[in-house]
Symmetry: C2
Subunit: 341 residues, 2 copies
DNA sequence: CTGAAAGCGCTTACAG
DNA sequence: CTGAAAGCGCTTACAG
């Protein structure tokens, strides 16, 4: 492989000059540039990134960190959509993304992560920092690594989805359809920061309709479809009067629908079920899932863009992205049942 | 940040010795090792990976390459599952994964990719090399970069799913249920190598049942749910006699089911629909989707393991992973309709 | 506008 | 078993 020295020799200039031309530093004449560029193409020269990294301190690699608590984060379709947004932005700017998925309960995995952020391999990180008791951004900050959090972490640079509004929109939709007997399927508050905000939003929405939120039955899962089925089962068995279930992600909603159908409930005639996230399959599900679009790709893109600004020495403002209610077929107005007796 | 020199000074040895201890080269005394390790922990030393890369030629980074033809590859749940397998293996071995998603029809994106594989940044690559006319592995081989293909590319190192058997299992299941009027929803053969093998498998399966495969109506989509709906619509409008649809991925199958229900067909009573892949949501879908489990995580893991062997100087044999039929509720035996007239 | 030279932080023969 | 020294391929003040 040809080196920068080879290029310099061929172009008849110094390595310093080649370096400056390649990194577009001022100033050199057009003639020099031409000579250099010709040599570059003739030789098929490609910069040695490790060498460049060592001498410049810049690697053009950013890490995308998706910590996981129990199951691997890779089963979550939302992750892919966020990645998509990050990738789009990084690709354009010539940055590469390194994927890191530390399991926060696993000492070895965590040690790997600590190594990585101290290794001078990374120009910065973007972290989906959702787990309350295990901040992945904190460690990066301590090392002085530029970092952007997707979430509610207390860092200078963060992008958030407006989970509070999302929760409120969801409750307003369901309560607005006349439902009062509403079951909540969430995850434990202390495991997921955005869920805390969604719950607060649900609560605010409930108040508007005179519903006492704390009286609504709630069952927590772990975001998996399976846990959604299980939670739905427990809720419905204990509270047969429920006419609607609000699930705080789409996969649990799909699991809930699956269960409800198995026991003969028809969605939405018998039971309204709504989700959160608007993953790609929410539209294809039958019935189509009413849910909250939390703009996952835009979230990723905003985070990447923010990190690029930080790397450029700017001080970008925090970003909060709006959420949108997407109404499909899994929710319907409450049917007035004939009075009993 | 402390350097290796600092460690050497503190431990009272040379940098060469520290380097050897850290990389576990023979030979040094236990006493030396202790001195060095103590200095390492006292100083909180972490190796500078770019420096190490420059002098050793090893980066401990491998690229995972998912080329995409049209839409971003990131919408495919299968991708995440393959990544999961690769990640599991790499994490254990101390390798980091760089994600690269070149759009093969986009010159700039492709140029980025070419740069990356020539940049000395990568110890090797794993590529999902499914697009017939655009080999992503070829470029890597030319650069002498160790590479493992997931797919049918003609390279020394590859792992494949047994798509032929998968196709055959699917057809055997459907034809075995008595269906003869079967519609096929695929993607164009010249866009996806595994699909060519699945089609061949379908054909072989059909023959066993005396079905002339080429007479079966076929409609191609692009793997998206939406295209599945559209393909189902075209097939069913033109061929109302169809009693089963075989779709070559789960997302198109879900789209097909969605459409079929909208026009009043009941699945599976009225129409059998099967998919391929067994993505996580296939089980939660209603009805549960009959499909082929192509062992995506294992595919990724096998590829990563194979690459590690190549990097260790071995010459691993190609791997072909079996497929499994997963029977759920979307397929049923053909009902004998009352004779006409 | 251009170049000589030092230096980034490691690893690796080589000699002892 | 240990160390001195060269070298990996760039970038960056600095001088001119």
């Amino acid at each position: 492989m040809p080196t920068l020295q080879d290029v310099a020799k061929r172009a008849g200039v110094s390595t310093a000059t080649v370096s400056k031309v390649l990194s577009n530093k001022p100033y050199f004449t057009e003639a020099t540039r031409d000579k250099v560029m010709r040599a570059v193409t003739e030789l098929g020269y490609v910069p040695h990134l490790a060498a460049r990294a060592l001498s410049s301190g810049k690697t053009h690699i950013i890490a995308v960190v998706f910590p996981s608590l129990y199951e691997t984060i890779m089963t979550d379709p939302l992750v892919l959509r966020i990645l998509e947004g990050i990738e789009a932005e990084c690709g354009q700017r010539g940055y590469n993304m390194l994927l890191s998925t530390p399991r926060v309960m696993d000492r070895e995995s965590d040690a790997n992560y600590q190594q990585l952020i101290s290794s001078n391999y990374l120009d910065g990180i973007i972290a989906l920092d959702h787990i309350p008791f295990a901040s992945v951004i904190g460690a990066a900050k301590k090392r002085g690594l530029p970092a952007v959090a997707i979430g509610y972490r207390d860092t200078p640079y963060s992008v958030q989805s407006d989970d509070f509004s999302g929760g409120m929109q969801l409750m307003q939709h369901v309560a607005g359809k006349g439902h009062r007997q509403i079951g909540i399927i969430a995850v434990p508050n202390d495991e997921h920061l955005p869920v805390q905000h969604r719950i607060a939003g649900l609560q605010a929405g409930a108040e508007q309709f005179g519903i006492v939120f704390d009286d609504l039955p709630r069952m927590d899962g772990d975001f998996s479809t399976h846990s959604g089925s299980r939670a739905a089962s427990e809720l419905l068995v204990r509270n047969p009067q429920l006419t609607a279930l609000i699930c705080l992600n789409d996969r649990m909603a799909m699991g809930a629908i699956h269960y409800a159908r198995q026991v003969g409930r028809s969605i939405p005639d018998d039971l309204t079920i709504v989700g959160y996230d608007d993953i790609p399959l929410a539209a294809a599900f039958s019935p189509g899932l009413t849910t909250i679009d939390q703009q996952a790709p835009q979230l990723g893109q905003a985070a990447a863009r923010m990190l690029m600004e930080v790397l450029a020495g700017k001080k970008p403002e925090p970003v909060k992205l709006p959420t949108y209610l997407v109404v499909r077929q899994s929710s319907a107005a409450l049917k007035l049942l004939p009075e009993r007796g």
